[in-house]
Amino acid sequence: MMTNMSERSPSQGAVIELKDVEKSFGATKVLTGVNLSIAKGETVVILGPSGSGKSTLLRTTNRLEPIDSGEIWYHGKPIPREGRELAAYRAEVGMVFQQFNLYPHKTAVQNITLAPVKRGKQKPEEARARALRLLADVNLSEHANKRPGALSGGQQQRVAIARAMAMDPEVILFDEPTSALDPEMIQEVVHVMKRLSADGMTMAVVTHEIGFARESADRIVFMDEGRIIEESDPESFFTNPRTERAQEFLGKILNH
């Protein structure tokens, strides 16, 4: 169990590290004493029943939700709380959402180039060329100039992944990237994620895609009621879960 970890100092090589993170929405406690560290190149899959705090965990990592107490470190330093520093941090931590959240008034390419250009990281032509390469990587070259409204869910999510990649992030956070997709589109997205993982991208993924977790995860983190209650490699987690809650959860998910 994850007790008595609070005295631990920033681990060597950890990209992101959460320490004793607590978070409540009103009277509801959503994160309790969460400790987690993600190493460079690692793919961490976070599993757990709905309402267990997985999404909130990701969102606090990007400071879309501020935390009540505890600390979040990025490369051994606390993450910034506001302003340009926060924006700069977020540029290094990509995020992909369940609802894709593309900008409806911009084309696929413009969605991808907006942040790099506005952050002054890339020149417009340069950004566009790179965006086209990224779109080719996710098999969407012919849709480059379409707006999100003209794309299917699977295509939108792949654009969203390309958008996250455009900033050359250190880490990408995936918040249930396939939950809003029709079944036939899930694989095209999972395929892209698997490739990213294989290429050595550091990833934290909240998902119910057991196939992806088995094949690509370096580590499984299991959450329940706002706590991390189990942390192990995929092989042992799926064949031999230690906690009752995890067994229950896997029973439900695998029989389904």
């Binding site: 879309l64 977020r90 931590v93 959240n101 900008y103 008034h105 907006l114 952050r119 409204g149």
Partner: protein, 214 residues
């Protein structure tokens, strides 16, 4: 036919005055309403309260009362505005509350997830607002703002009650002289319908031009 010809010059002049009042009033309302909407989402408590007081106070008062205060009340504290200007300011103040609500609900109606995605991608607040929030919100604001414009034109009729002879006032004057209610009110109705249709058409057109899915 003869009646019509006699009625037209005065009524057309009235129509001109109606536009002369309502167009600047709408522009003023846009500026004032947007400013107050920003106040109301600014998180600066005192400005929020100011915005709320403005909207609740002005929106809940009859426009006629506001015009009476501006036209006949203000001079009592030493501020004398030309009649038309006082009406334009009153109309702008009044319509500004509706602009404020349209802008506010336009902003609040923006998909939160999209704004979060923009923030998460490393854009600064300024760019989130200028590149994502406003462009999307503005599109949803076009129809309600067009409605506010139409309301402004219709409300400008109350200028007739404080001494400015615009279209409605001209209609009354003509009917007083000629006692031809069908001619007088018919022409006025046609004038207002025309303005309505024009604004509605412009709104639909611009909305179509800015539609997302093409």
């Amino acid at each position: 036919m003869d009646d019509l010809l006699k009625a037209l010059p005065g009524l057309l002049e009235g129509l001109g005055v109606t536009l002369y009042l309502s167009i600047p009033a709408f522009l003023l309302a846009m500026v004032l309403g947007s400013m107050m909407a920003i106040f109301r989402v600014s998180r600066v408590r005192s400005l929020e309260v100011l915005g709320t007081l403005y909207v609740e106070g002005v929106r809940n008062s009859p426009l006629l009362l506001i015009l009476l205060l501006l036209v006949f009340g203000l001079p009592d504290v030493g501020i004398l505005l030309p009649l038309e200007l006082a009406v334009i300011i009153g109309l702008g103040l009044y319509s500004g509350t509706f602009v404020c609500e349209a802008v506010r609900s336009g902003i609040n109606g923006v998909d939160v997830g999209m704004v979060e995605a923009a923030r998460a991608s490393g854009l600064t607040t300024r760019h989130v607002i200028s590149e994502v929030l406003l462009p999307v919100a503005l599109r949803t604001m076009i129809p309600p703002l067009a409605t506010v414009f139409i309301t402004t034109v219709l409300s400008s009729a109350l200028a007739a009650a404080v001494g400015v002879t615009e279209l409605t006032g001209a209609t009354r004057v003509y009917n007083l002289v000629a006692a031809q209610p069908f001619v007088a009110f018919g022409i006025a109705a046609a004038g207002y319908l025309l303005i309505n249709l024009l604004i509605g058409w412009a709104s639909a057109k611009s909305e179509r031009l800015l539609r997302f899915n093409q």
